[in-house]
């Protein structure tokens, strides 16, 4: 999850859009009105790591526990800091509003000092707002004391991420499409794994719905899912795309599978494997 607006802008420039997920608990919003934080897909995260735009980090222990300890030990101190910050922001707002008000009066030719200010200041008090921070004040304190992550550990972490939330073939499809300048977002709405835009999602309609990676050699193409994907695609002007990774033979022939995978999935190998994907775009022929 991304909490910092500047980081979001950077990611967007890289064609990594994620999904905004922030909303108010009491007034849940639909996708058009969502805000920070930005949720990234696993594939996007891995792409960022492999291309050197992000690094994986291990945090010590469950964060919730850590935070509660901090609150116990340093709670009062943190409260004071936050309180001071808030008061300061109120002061600045008051000052600003007063200045604006005086300018307005001057424009109208009224002497600002003549007026009784008590009613006004009451109004100002009620119009002050409290800013909700996008990112935590406490968390950066933790990422300071990070554990060193060496290259093998990095691969382990990547593998952990992938085995829990996706698979390497899906990632390779993502990477291949990304290298063709497509921007992906989650494709659940159209029955696929991703949908792909030919550029920024705000400027283009998406062209493609991409199904989950198939095993290139052994997995039969399911015609039911093919027809449903392609028919829906025709209705929403998208092509249904199926794809797979060619040199997959390790994975299906167990045995040293884990070793082979560890060997294969080094960052360099993964980056050079982008040409080994095979895609087919499917569309209803318009008759029959």
């Amino acid at each position: 999850m991304i909490f910092n607006l500047d980081d979001m802008v950077k990611l967007r420039r890289l064609g990594v859009c994620g999904i905004l997920s922030g909303t108010l608990p009491t007034a849940a919003q639909q996708n058009m009105f969502l805000s920070i934080p930005l949720n990234l897909m696993v594939e996007e995260t891995i792409w960022l790591v492999l291309n050197g735009h992000a690094e994986l980090q291990l945090l010590q222990g469950p964060m919730a526990g850590q935070v509660s300890t901090v609150l116990e030990t340093r709670g009062e101190e943190l409260y004071k800091v936050a309180r001071e910050k808030l008061l300061k922001s109120f002061d600045l707002q008051r000052q600003y509003k007063k200045e604006q008000h005086e300018l307005k009066l001057q424009k109208l030719g009224i002497d600002p000092t003549r007026d009784d200010n008590s009613a006004n200041s009451k109004l100002i008090e009620s119009s002050l707002f409290v800013e909700t921070q996008n990112d935590s004040l406490i968390l950066p304190y933790y990422s300071q004391e990070k554990l060193r992550v060496d290259p093998t550990m990095n691969i382990m972490l990547l593998n952990l991420l992938v085995s829990n939330y996706s698979n390497w073939n899906n990632y390779l499809l993502y990477q291949s499409l990304k290298s063709q300048n497509y921007v992906m977002s989650p494709g659940g709405r159209f029955g696929g794994l991703f949908i792909a835009y030919p550029g920024d999602p705000l400027r283009y309609h998406s062209h493609l719905t991409i199904g989950s990676a198939l095993d290139y050699y052994t997995e039969p193409i399911d015609f039911i899912s093919l027809t449903s994907g392609a028919r829906l695609g025709t209705a929403v002007k998208k092509l249904w795309v199926i794809g797979g990774v060619k040199d997959d033979k390790y994975a299906s022939s167990e045995g040293d599978a884990t070793n082979a995978i560890l060997e294969m999935k080094t960052p360099d190998n993964l980056l050079t494997k982008r040409n080994n994907t095979s895609f087919f775009s499917i569309e209803w022929a318009g008759f029959g």
């Binding site: 198939l214 015609f223 199926i242 794809g243 775009s281 008759f287």
Partner: protein, 127 residues
């Protein structure tokens, strides 16, 4: 179901069904079974070719000969067409510059549905 007779191995039945559907139901011309064949999982795959009565896609410059790969829907069985198979069909049964073939999927009730398959990533057709 009766149509179990037209098993996935029974290429001839599916090929004939697709061919006749094109000729008599979709009014295609010059529908024929292509000579070239490709061995695949114990059977021989052959394409059906023909000329459609009108342009199939607004992006096509003109009406051209189309190639159809007949397959069985086999809702409850595993079909044997894999990604590798499609690549091989494009490689062995088509010209070098073929961009698409048509998948003719035969259902158990005798109807056939047709889907374009483009090699690689393709742009959606203009409507």
């Amino acid at each position: 179901m009766e149509s179990n007779a037209s098993d996935s191995n029974d290429r001839h039945t599916i090929e004939t069904l697709v061919k006749e559907n094109l000729a008599y139901f979709q009014y295609w011309k010059e529908v024929q079974l292509e000579e070239k064949s490709m061995p695949w999982r114990g059977t021989k795959l052959r394409l059906v070719s023909g000329i459609p009565p009108n342009k199939l896609s607004n992006d096509d410059p003109e009406v051209t000969k189309e190639y159809i790969l007949p397959v069985n829907m086999t809702q409850y069985k595993e079909e044997f067409i894999t990604l590798e198979c499609l690549d091989l069909v494009f490689e062995n049964l088509c010209d070098k510059n073929t961009k698409r073939i048509i998948l003719g999927i035969a259902n158990s009730d005798g109807t056939v549905v047709f889907y374009f398959i483009y090699k690689g990533i393709h742009k959606p057709k203009k409507n």
